[in-house]
């Protein structure tokens, strides 16, 4: 039971990463590799700040700001220097490795014995792992509420239009470069925020913790889409979070089968590849009917 609770808590926190990537990958419609750099950067920033006596809340906010700045660099390289977005992301991702080492001064930093958002006395009475569910739900709710509001504003609509049809957006007077810069910044801010929370939950930060993040984030998005199908924009944001929780549960089951944590990235990729090929497999073999027949 406690493993399931832990999986749900993890799913909520990782869902923030999924929502962050959703802004670029689905709304702006381009793959942003920066996330592999901003995730550990958020973790490094928050953990180092906490180690230097900054309050966990302020440290987390600081991580968000640092992530926004890294995203801003990618956005400027992409729109102003006209570097292809995939390469711009890889450049910032690579550079951030050195920056993370500068921030922490060493490859990893423990939070042992230090205050984090999760070991606050507020949660002392909760059963184990419920702290991450509590904080996860709270932060996810705040982020989704803000995003839903934003997407309904005139600026938010211009942001969606930019990803949907750039030529049209420009012909209606929308500055599409600015929309992209804004999107990449906020997206990476959210991913750094997620990194800060996950590092606090794990109790440490490591420069290598960013490897494979984009696959995990994509898995949340794709699983949500495959399982819940056609949804409105607002529902899709929630679907990403649910997708992230489902992904964590699948992962938990796989790990229970005897795989160890070193197989993690392999398993992540396999799960994502499976879900991404599901629509094609479904068409070819009519999986739904087979499953329905099996259940009767």
């Amino acid at each position: 039971m406690s493993i399931l609770v832990s999986a749900i808590g993890q799913g909520l926190l990782w869902g923030i990463i999924g929502v962050g990537l959703f802004l670029t990958f689905r709304i702006l419609d381009f793959p942003d590799m920066t996330v592999e750099g901003t995730f550990p950067m958020g973790a490094a920033t928050a953990v180092t700040a906490i180690a230097h006596g900054v309050s966990p809340l302020n440290a987390t906010i600081l991580a968000f700001i640092v992530g926004c700045l890294a995203g801003l660099v990618t956005g400027l390289l992409y729109t102003k220097a006209k570097i292809p977005v995939l390469l711009a992301g890889i450049l910032v991702m690579t550079a951030s490795y050195s920056i993370d080492l500068r921030i922490m001064g060493k490859p990893n930093q423990s939070l042992l014995g230090l205050k984090t958002l999760f070991n606050s006395p507020l949660f002392a009475k909760l059963p184990p792992y419920f702290d991450s569910i509590f904080i996860g739900i709270l932060i996810v709710a705040i982020i989704i509420a803000i995003l839903i509001y934003f997407l309904q504003t005139n600026l938010g609509q211009s942001f969606i239009a930019t990803g949907d049809n750039e030529a049209m957006a420009q012909s209606l007077g929308i500055n599409t470069d600015n929309m992209k810069i804004m999107g990449v910044s906020v997206s990476n801010g959210l991913i750094a925020l997620g990194g800060a929370l996950i590092a606090q939950n794990n109790g440490y930060s490591d420069v290598n913790m960013g490897i494979g993040i984009i696959v995990v984030a994509l898995a949340s998005i794709i699983i949500g889409e495959v399982i819940f199908g056609n949804l409105t924009m607002n529902q899709r944001l929630v679907a990403v979070i649910l997708g992230s929780i489902i992904y964590r549960i699948i992962l938990m089951i796989v790990l229970q089968l005897g795989f160890n944590a070193n197989d993690f990235n392999l398993i992540s990729s396999v799960i994502l590849a499976l879900f991404m090929s599901l629509p094609i497999l479904e068409k070819k073999y009519n999986l739904k009917r087979i499953i329905q027949r099996g259940l009767k």
């Binding site: 504003t153 600026l155 938010g156 609509q157 969606i160 012909s171 007077g173 929308i174």
Partner: protein, 255 residues
């Protein structure tokens, strides 16, 4: 004589500069557009029709010459800034609308063409009655599909929507780039008629590229023929009335 609202003065656009393929796709082109002009633009492929439009919208910066809007030079004004007074309909139905956004959302975006967009709520519901009214005029059941993503519409409906989006906020200049060319003859004729009615009723200033000689003669009060990046003929309303399809054929074969 009234002053033109938009002028191209000696506009030249050179491509492949310094190579053997160097070419002036616009060659010292002069055009004065007056308020209320409905100009049909003819020209063979490569005559510079699209380049002419792109230099009006700012997608292309002329190599030399001036672009003048209401007496001020706007050579370097960005595409986005020019949308304050300009709107256009593309030939390709896919280009004019955002496929994953609904018909109503697209119209709402178009209603704010050229305006600053900030953190105020979009207020979609308030606009629905207006959107219903204007889409009903298109006579193609667009009004019943306000909440449909435009990606699910037919090409004809999408093009009709693109036209509505270009005119929902009155532009000083409307550019139509063969906007009925991708449609079947019946749908094309319907949209052309609505286009003409709207332009006449609202006294819009419009340039329309077309390859249909009949349309070029039937609609508008001025006709220009482009050839090799410059305006070969410019017929005013009276001259245009005397033109026949045969005359136009002759202009093309002469060149």
């Amino acid at each position: 004589m009234t002053k033109p609202i938009f002028q191209l003065k000696n506009v030249t656009k050179t491509v492949n500069t310094g190579t053997p393929e160097e070419l002036n796709i616009l060659d010292h082109l002069n055009l004065d557009i007056y308020d209320g002009d409905f100009i049909t633009v003819l020209g063979s492929n490569g005559a510079g029709k699209s380049t002419l439009f792109n230099s009006i919208t700012g997608n292309i910066t002329p190599t030399s010459g001036d672009v003048i809007y209401k007496n001020s030079k706007i050579n370097k004004m960005s595409v986005v800034k020019r949308t304050k007074f300009l709107s256009r309909v593309f030939q390709d139905p896919k280009l004019g609308t955002a496929p994953r956004m609904t018909v109503a959302e697209n119209l709402l975006l178009a209603e704010k063409r050229g305006e600053h967009r900030l953190f105020n709520l979009r207020g979609l519901k308030k606009q629905i009655p207006l959107f219903k009214k204007i889409t009903a005029k298109m006579n193609n059941s667009l009004d019943k599909r306000l909440n449909t993503p435009t990606g699910n519409l037919s090409g004809g409906q999408r093009q009709a929507l693109s036209f509505l989006m270009a005119t929902i906020k009155r532009p000083d200049i409307l550019l139509l780039d063969e906007h009925t060319a991708a449609l079947d003859p019946n749908t094309s004729e319907k949209l052309m008629k609505i286009t003409n009615d709207t332009i006449t009723d609202e006294k819009l200033t419009c340039l329309m590229i077309t390859h249909q000689l009949e349309d070029a003669l039937k609609y508008g009060n001025r006709l220009i023929v482009l050839h090799k990046g410059t305006i070969a003929y410019d017929f005013n309303s009276d001259e245009k009335k005397k033109l026949s399809k045969e005359d136009l054929y002759k202009f093309f074969s002469e060149k």
